[in-house]
Symmetry: C2
Subunit: 207 residues, 2 copies
Amino acid sequence: MPKQTFYKLPQEKQERILAAAKREFTKVRFSDASINRMIRDAGIPRGSFYQYFEDKTDIFLFFLEDYKKEILGGFTVCIRAHGGELLSAIVDFLDDFIEEAFKNPREGIRVIVSEPWIFENIWADMLGGESSKEVSRVKQEGRSAVDWSKLDLLDEAEEEVFIHIFGAVIRDSLCEVFHRNEMSLEEAKNLFHERIESLRRHYEKRP
Amino acid sequence: MPKQTFYKLPQEKQERILAAAKREFTKVRFSDASINRMIRDAGIPRGSFYQYFEDKTDIFLFFLEDYKKEILGGFTVCIRAHGGELLSAIVDFLDDFIEEAFKNPREGIRVIVSEPWIFENIWADMLGGESSKEVSRVKQEGRSAVDWSKLDLLDEAEEEVFIHIFGAVIRDSLCEVFHRNEMSLEEAKNLFHERIESLRRHYEKRP
DNA sequence: AACAAAAATGACACCTTGTCATAATCTTCC
DNA sequence: GGAAGATTATGACAAGGTGTCATTTTTGTT
């Protein structure tokens, strides 16, 4: 996370830097992102960057806080719209997400799938772990929007385990869709549907 | 995959290069691996490297073929030892794998978790996709070593879906164990057990 | 205003990668 | 054997990346 100095900066400058970071990180994958380009874009000298951030990871994590709120917030809305049904909600959410990603070819999605720890970082916020107050709130909301009684889980421990399994499947599928060889929109959607349906068949309570 | 020129090289030189690649890729994560170090280690000039390989990814994929055979082969033996019970086999296999990884702190494991597409590449060999003849054979053996009748899967399609879900959970857990904050050996093992047990409870046929 | 602390700055050292002109070597054919 | 042609080897080079640090500028305090 940014150093003290960064937060003392005028709002305008902070935003300019965040915007440049966002442009860079949504354009190329993390490992290809360049500090050089970001500072050129933001119009700050090289030395200043290191006055504000430790390194690329540092500014990325800062940027990610924003991105997280956006994603988790949107998902929570979606869960509510589906009356707490997590699995129906995710299908809907991913359909939109993929469509969007196919429209703006590849942009943005790279943020999530480019490094294993990134999705995990996002996902962890639905579980626990240290996050900023704001993100914590968003996380709590998301979790409590789910109607857990519809799933066949023994106790809170397995509830947590399920969230991990669920997250793993989504991440894995996202990687597959956006990382490997080309795939049509229909194929991509279908890939998700199949997997979520399998989870539903085995994890939803039967009457 | 390597260019023609590489395969015309004397065996000894090929092996020297592969060995150097292996040392590099098992020491640092993919994005930090340096061609420079590899060629220095292997004692070949810079220009030659590009005569043999396209780039870092190219030599990595070459190295990975070897690594895959090792991993998939070992897992197949383990599946057989468990009479085809996939879930029991994976618990056993991962226990060993993690113990090994904790002994030689962090070495090797990086290969798998450092980039999302790597594990997928390995895993894909249990499903299909283009692989070398040798790997294909290993893959077929692995798949047919599993006693699928013990799992509650509708048809071959869901069998395939399950392999993905299964792989996703393992990869996700590996990332969690080796990527994020420190974790004790016991905690790590327990993390896997919990998740595999949940899968077992929901995916194994009930009497 | 004078002094100390904090922040800004860009040149620098050192790394990386991929290319390319040239040199060395191997093939082939007469 | 030797000359021509194809293939391979080689390291210097350009272009770009990162993190540091001595120096200048700004800010805050007495």
